[in-house]
Amino acid sequence: MKYVKARPTTDLNRNTDWFTYPGVWTTYIFIIFFSWLLILSVSGCTPGMAWTIVHFSHFLVTYHFFHWMKGTPFAEDQGIYNRLTWWEQIDNGKQLTRNRKFLTVVPVVLYLIASHTTDYQHPMIFFNTVAVIVLVIAKFPNMHKVRIFGINGDM
């Protein structure tokens, strides 16, 4: 039985401090892998098509939860994070930390796997490329708190 130590963090934001505890990266990768297996077993498509579906739904889910939804799911912090998306909240807003680099690498690796297993054919490669470009640009340090054309700005 393998044990890990959980050191208490200095992150006061309960919405993001869970990402600093051990085991998160592994859980994330396992969820992606098992959803690929699930899609393969439920539909009868090729492995490449399954990876494309995984990549695209990963794009939709992570874009919605990391870069679109703002604030925290509880009211105890009196709304001081109500203008920040989850991506802008993690690590107290510090850029280029290990967690952020990991989360930027995952969509790129998924893109490479999805493109390779579909042999770079149209139309899958178009959707995959659009997805990865949007996700990676959303994670740039220069995009911190930037709202293009006021989309998703404050109410």
């Binding site: 963090t9 859980t27 925290t72 009211a75």
Partner: protein, 489 residues
Amino acid sequence: MITIPYLTALTTYFSYGLLFAFGQLRDFFRKFIDWWKASNLQGYAPICLGLEDFYIRRLYLRIQDCFGRPIASPPDAWFDVVERVSNDNNKTLQRTTKISRCLNLGSYNYLGFAAADEYCTPRVTETLQRYSASTCSTRMEGGTTALHVELEQVVADFVGKPAAMVTGMGYVTNSAILPVLVKHGGLIISDSLNHNSIVNGARGSGATIRVFQHNTPSHLERVLREQIAEGQPRTHRPWKKIIVVVEGIYSMEGELCKLPEIVSICKKYKAYVYLDEAHSIGAVGKTGRGVCELLGVDTADVDIMMGTFTKSFGSCGGYIAGSKELIQYLKYTCPAHLYATSISPPAAQQIISAIKVILGEDGSSRGAQKLAQIRENSNYFRSELQKMGFEVLGDNDSPVMPIMLYNPAKIPAFSRECLKQNVAVVTVAFPATPLLLARARICISAAHSREDMVKALEVISRVGDLVGIKYFPAEPKKHELVEGREKVE
């Protein structure tokens, strides 16, 4: 440092992810269905933005019956818990007239003053008849009675400081004092696991807040050096004052503060120390004077000592103890003293009588017995739980012992199973604790007898096997080892 089995961490994240996903799905369908219904807001803004109460609506309400259970008797070692039923899957709960007699492992009843006491209760009822239930006034107007003056003197002597000030509510003591002590331009450095009252008081003060890693004096020193070198944000002027806020016993961990190191670091860098002894006053230390006595720290080195009367003294209210000048200043400026109703006279009498019992001034040795009893009880219970293979946090001598649960489904399982077997425990989850580290927090009291604790251990062991929270290997019982040796010979 909490040790988690790796597989448990993975399954806990996955469980919370699943709960979150289902909650989002239900919210999506709710939004879709509500789009067709007319809104009854009539132009007013909604009270909740829709995302703020996501945790309450989709996670907390599912297991609502594990929290907020009403009780029907004083919170002694055994008490009556009112049963509740739900007809709509835990969205609302209705009280029934049935009560069950349960063993109380959740109340902060460290010295057993929560129930009727042979010395305190007659005096409290006499005070109730003499002074009536409330002073109906603030301290500045008509709310200072002879009892209040005596109480402040007794508390100051007990804690070991020249003077003290008493307020009617414990939470308010922190959240109303911190804004008075530090203002904009000052710095508050607080432990990362400090109580919500300190966090709210610090946020309300307008000072800059910095957090240091829980109970790590080396990190505190690093933060202090960095902040003193940088000065105030943007202007880089020197800080007006620096206060370091720590707690005596951390209520969610049961750990004692590393007070001697922290006090020496603060002395080196000339920062003030604010010690919140809510859980440790009256419960630890040879004569019950708290964490300073236990760890051998001179009370003159701690600048501001704060505590509450709800835990060890069986009453309500809080106090601040410090130098005479500090208390005089607070009496002119603190809103809890100027504008809030003063502490109720029977409650004040309960505190005075409890302190007299603890110090042995009532002519018996019950105080010393209670203190020895709680220390023995805590050490026995903690060591037995650890032998069974549970992961129990907290230091020796601390009466608070959290048992780690981790998975979100184990929280209601543990709580409900224990209640079925007539043991009432308190479980704590996100967001009071970090997401991964949900726990069941046990508070041992001097009123628990050896039979009570043995029964509690049996029930917890059975439920622990059923729920699967014995994360460490159990120690083999001694007589099994001896048998093995005999067989070999």
